[in-house]
Every structure is written in structure tokens, then in C-alpha cells.
Amino acid sequence: MKKILIVGANSAIAAAAARQWVGQGVSLVLAGRNPDRLSALAADLHVRGGSAVKIVEAIYDATDRTAHAALVEGAWNALQGLDGVLIAHGSLPDQKACEASVAQTLMELETNALSVIAVASLLANRFEAQGRGVIAVIGSVAGDRGRQSNYVYGAAKGMVGLFLQGLRNRLSRKGVRVVTIKPGFVDTPMTASFKKGALWASADQVASGIVRAMERADGEVYLPGFWRLIMLIIRHIPEAVFKRMSL
């Protein structure tokens, strides 16, 4: 892979992956919402990558429905084609606030699910046409089961997971790989206010897993790997029991 679009490049996990990629000489389109953070990231990658890699910045707000097509078109032209995309943007909703506001619930679904599906769809068609490409999306273990503490987020991540399953099924014979990344707890600005314990991974660790997965995986990748087992257990708790648990 030589040319990658990163959507939500300001995410700590995505930025860590971007550093690894420029180290390998990969050129990048960085799409992000906050322009100051985006240029700070681009400058850092310029210094690390030297003149050999091309870094392009694109301002992108996932809640703007006119933005998806423009982003994909612009990125494709800027690097004259793409080999892969990492969709990383996301927000961790305030579950209680969502319960009180339908508007906020829908907005969170827009950010965490619909925008992701829009960008993935547009790139799927382009990758299908060229007969190769990798679509990687950061989902979450939270998408594996609905829990009272964050089911709006979980529903969005779960929708993305199902959508990608179908997309993978459609593209599996077209040379296009579809990778669903499911991180557990990651120490990033998104989780700054959480108390951290033994299960927590660093953004760097998860980024390494993503870079590796985009090289060869085609399916669902839990990061770190032990989450596959944890989620297997959680998914198999009977609903009659689960509904009384406070997870």
C-alpha cells in the first residue's frame, strides 16, 4: 500500500497509524474536522516522512452530508488513486443526554454510523472498479452487544459492523478487502476522563494492529486480540440474564 486516505486523522489512534505509515513511505490524505490539529499532524508527518511522502490535508465534518462525496473525490484526485482507507472518526456519546434528546441520538448515529457507511460505500465502488483496495473501519467491541451504559454508541458501531459484513461478502471476489477493527479500551482523548486499568491499550499498540491488519486481514480484528474471547463470552450470555446485569 502506497496511498491511504485517513478519515478522522486527528484521532489519536489514526495519528499513531499515520506515523507508522509515513515511516514506510506511504503517502496520505488526512481528513479531519479541527484544522489546527490537522495542520499540526501534517507538519509532524512531513518532518518524519521527509520529501519522499506526500501529505494532503482535507477538512471534513462527518455530520455534513454533502461532505462525503467531495472528500472521496478530492482524495482520489490528490494522490491519483488510493490503495486503502482507514475510517477512524467517532465520538463517545453522553448516553444520558441521548436518552433525553432524540436529536442528539440521531446526531450520534450520523457521526458514528451513517457518515462511515457513506464514505465506505463511495470507496467500495471505486475499489471494486479498480479491482483492489482495502477498507478498514474502526468499530468497537461496544458494537457486539447493546448495554444500558452506552447503547447509542453500541448501536452505531454495531450497524457499521453489519454493513461491513455485507460489503465484505459483496467484494470478497473483487480483490477488495474489508477489515472491521474492534478495539477494546484505548487510552486516548476520547477516554481521558476514564479510570485506566489493566485492560487498557495504548493508541500506538492499537495503531500497530491496524497497520498489520490492513496489510493482510479480511474480516473482524479485535485489538488487542484477547477481546475476541471476552466478547465471545459477553455475546453468549442469555438475554434473560443479560438484561438484569448492569454493564
Partner: protein, 432 residues
């Protein structure tokens, strides 16, 4: 999970930690005092803020600009020297000054105005800082350099993290032809010989430092090995170098550093065969022998350890150093790492900078409670007698009145301390 403790394993859990990730962002408005936290490589309490907040700068780790033609590097303050080396060495540039570990941040290196083995020719880290941005709790941002806001520049270099948050800094790197150094080791039998050797050899070499066998008594007192090094010029063939990193897997329940292991180590180390003439050495083992054993500080066990680093005036020479060694020998507490170096007279822009002309001695001591503290007070007496000072980056115990004596600029400095900033060390040395 990240622990906020000092390298000497002093614990002072802060009440709150703010992980900074964006240099444009304002400082948090906390009801308690704040202190920037670099990478926790200071030994004592300079980087701790018991009961207050820490501003963790690990997320301020972006490069901003690097010009491979001039060697001028601009980066955020949480960038570690290790990352600068990975970037710059392949492009023919090296740190202008480096401490004995590369796992320190640029912000930490400025705030303690760190020194290296080239102090006698290059001065301290602060001498190579071209400018930086200082963010204060009132939201103001100052661009500080020797020309612009020079007072803030002088107060912040060696300013112990108290004048505000350094968000980014610009450094002048030093040209090299390759990652290797020509090094040489020379044995000396006593302090007088060290001083003569240093006077003769140091002017000809960029890097000099000596290891002292501080357990040897009688005629052997003050014996050690003197190391010199110089960046190698262009070579047609470079040796192979393979980095190895190991980690002390757990904290042993008691200290592995005791009288027996120390004596054996020092004896062996002093008598180890030295290569004759010069050897070509990669910069990693040369500058950072301890970094290959990650978290080596755990070998001192759960009680941790202290480091004592002082400087004594040049004219005090062998006599002052000898008094220090005698006091250590009498106390029966040895030090694994006893490092001796002569500082040069290049002044730092930093008002509270530690390096000053004279001989600096750095020692590690396992924490034996009162016995260790009593030894430190004895050593202090020698330092005070000989126009010396103690290095705050390594200190956890110096009495307040000593600090003010060693750093007479403290009064002028206090006016530049950010009203929302404080540290465990600062409260200790400002206590009435």
C-alpha cells in the same frame, strides 16, 4: 497503567492528571496548583506535585519543522530526545547536549537545564535553545528567546517547570558524520591524578566523564576510569551495531544493591581490561549505557533510591572531593554509579541553572532511611564549604536554606512563577 512517580521511585500521587494533546489548547482551570510532567526521569520531587494536578505532556509529541540543511529543529515539548535522535542521526545531526538517558522530554531538558559529557565545551542544554513558547495559566502565550522576552527565557531555562508550560521549543542540533564515536578509557589511581589527567585531556576532547570507585579505601580512594569520546569523522566502513533492550521484569522485594554486590561490582569494573588506544563505539552504548536495561531503577527494590549530585568550585578540587568520598566511606553506604566530571565556564541563559564551573559528582544511594539522609547532610556541609550547589533534578531532601544559598537568583525568579503552578520541590524549598 501509568504511574506518576519520580525515577527514584518517590510516590506522590497527584490529585488530578490532565493529559495534554493539543498545544493550541488553553490550560485547564484547576482549583489546585498545576505542574508540567515530562517523562518522570527526574529522581526527586521536582516533577511531582503532591495533592495538586499534573499536566502530562506525553501527548505533545509532534515535530513542527526540521531543516536538514541548518540542523534547526522545532518540536512540541513532550517530544523525547530518543525521538529526535531517530529522526536526526540518519540525516547527519545529533543532540547539542544530552543527559545520560535519552528518555527525557524537551520540556524536561529545558526545565532542568540538563547537562552532558560535553559541558566543558558546549555548556548546558539551554545554551542551544533558540526559542520556545511559554503558555501561562492566564492564557497568555509568550515567544521567548535571548532577544525577545529574554527575562522569561532566562527564568524558564532551569525554571523547574514553575514559570508556565513550554508548548514547543526550537533547538540547534550539532552536525555529525555518522552514529559512531572514537572513545578511550584511561585508569587513574586517585583524585589528584584525575584532576591532572582532566586538565591535560579535556581540552582536546568533546566528551569527558569519569567513573569513580567510591568504595575503595586507603590508597585506592579516588581511583577510577576516565572516558573520553569524540564524534567520528567520515569513515569508509562503519562497524555493525545491533541495539538490544531488556527490561527488569519485576520489582524485587528487596534491593539488589547492597554492600556485597557493590563491592564486587566496583572491584571488577575498576580492574576490567581496558582496550588500549581508541575504540569505535556507537552513540547508544556510549551515551546511554543504562537505557538498554529499561526500568533499571526497580533493582533498588520497593524503597527506591536517592541520587545525590553536587558541584564544588574548581579551586576546591581534590580536597573537597576527597572529603566527600571519606564521608561516604565512613557511612558504609556505597554507590553503584559514581560519576565525576568537570564543568566548563560557559554560562547558561538560565537563572537557576545548576551547572557552574567546578567538579560535579553524582552518586546513587539505596534508600536506607535516616542513615542515608544523615550522610546527605554531611555531604552538604562539604558542598557549602566549597562554594558548591546541589542539582534539583536529582534532589529530594535539600534543606530550604541551602537551596536559597545555592540559587541566589530565586528571589528574582519567584516573580516569574506562574501563580497557578507549584511543585513538591518548590513548596519544600520555599518553606519558611
Amino acid at each position: 497503567m501509568k504511574r506518576y512517580q519520580s525515577w527514584g521511585r518517590i510516590d506522590a500521587e497527584p490529585s488530578r492528571v490532565y493529559a495534554l494533546s493539543d498545544r493550541q489548547m488553553a490550560l485547564p482551570t484547576a482549583s489546585f496548583s498545576m505542574l508540567p510532567f515530562g517523562n518522570g526521569r527526574s529522581y526527586g520531587d521536582v516533577g511531582l506535585n503532591r495533592g495538586g494536578a499534573l499536566l502530562d505532556t506525553a501527548g505533545l509529541d509532534r515535530f513542527i519543522d526540521f531543516d536538514p540543511a541548518s540542523g534547526i529543529l522545532r518540536c512540541e515539548a513532550g517530544v523525547q530526545l530518543d525521538h529526535i535522535l531517530s529522526l536526526a542521526v540518519p540525516q547527519g545531526w545529533f543532540l547539542p547536549v544530552t543527559p545520560g538517558t535519552r528518555f527525557v522530554t524537551v520540556g524536561g531538558a529545558i526545565a532542568n537545564d540538563v547537562h552532558g559529557k560535553n559541558h566543558h565545551v558546549a555548556g548546558s542544554f539551554g545554551c542551544h535553545v533558540r526559542q520556545f513558547e511559554l503558555l501561562r495559566s492566564d492564557g497568555s502565550r509568550r515567544l521567548c528567546s535571548p532577544q525577545h522576552d529574554a527575562d522569561w527565557f532566562g527564568a524558564t531555562i532551569g525554571g523547574l517547570g514553575l514559570t508556565g508550560l513550554i508548548t514547543w521549543a526550537e533547538l540547534q542540533l550539532r552536525r555529525i558524520a555518522n552514529p559512531f564515536l572514537w572513545t578511550e578509557a584511561i585508569r587513574f589511581r586517585n583524585l589528584q591524578q584525575f584532576i591532572e589527567l582532566d586538565a591535560e585531556v579535556a581540552p582536546r576532547h568533546e566528551y569527558t566523564v569519569a567513573w569513580l570507585d567510591c568504595l575503595a579505601g586507603g590508597a585506592g580512594r579516588g581511583r577510577g576510569i576516565y572516558f573520553v569520546g569524540d564524534h567520528a569523522p567520515s569513515l569508509t566502513q562503519l562497524p555493525l551495531y545491533q541495539a538490544r533492550r531488556r527490561r527488569l521484569p519485576l520489582t524485587p522485594p528487596w534491593s539488589l544493591v547492597n554492600g556485597l554486590s557493590l563491592r564486587a561490582f566496583n572491584q571488577l569494573y575498576y580492574h576490567r581490561p581496558l582496550a588500549t588506544g581508541q575504540t569505535l563505539t556507537h552513540y547508544e552504548p556510549y551515551f546511554y549505557p543504562l537505557d538498554s536495561l529499561l526500568e533499571w531503577n526497580r533493582m533498588y527494590g520497593p524503597r527506591g533510591f536517592y541520587q545525590y549530585q553536587c558541584v564544588v568550585a574548581p579551586e576546591a578540587g581534590a580536597q573537597a572531593l576527597d572529603r566527600l568520598l571519606q564521608a561516604i566511606a565512613r557511612s558504609g553506604q556505597g554507590s553503584f554509579l559514581a560519576v565525576l566530571k568537570r564543568f566548563g565556564d560557559q554560562a547558561s541563559p538560565g537563572w537557576l541553572s545548576f551547572p557552574r564551573p567546578g567538579y560535579t559528582l553524582a552518586l546513587d544511594f539505596p534508600n536506607r532511611g535516616d542513615a542515608t539522609l544523615q550522610l546527605f547532610r554531611e555531604l552538604d556541609a562539604v558542598v557549602l564549604d566549597h562554594g558548591g550547589a546541589i542539582y534539583p533534578a536529582k534532589d529530594a531532601t535539600m534543606p530550604a536554606e541551602h537551596f536559597r544559598h545555592y540559587y541566589p537568583a530565586w528571589q528574582r525568579f519567584s516573580a516569574f512563577v506562574d501563580p497557578a503552578f507549584s511543585s513538591s520541590l518548590w513548596r519544600r524549598v520555599m518553606a519558611a
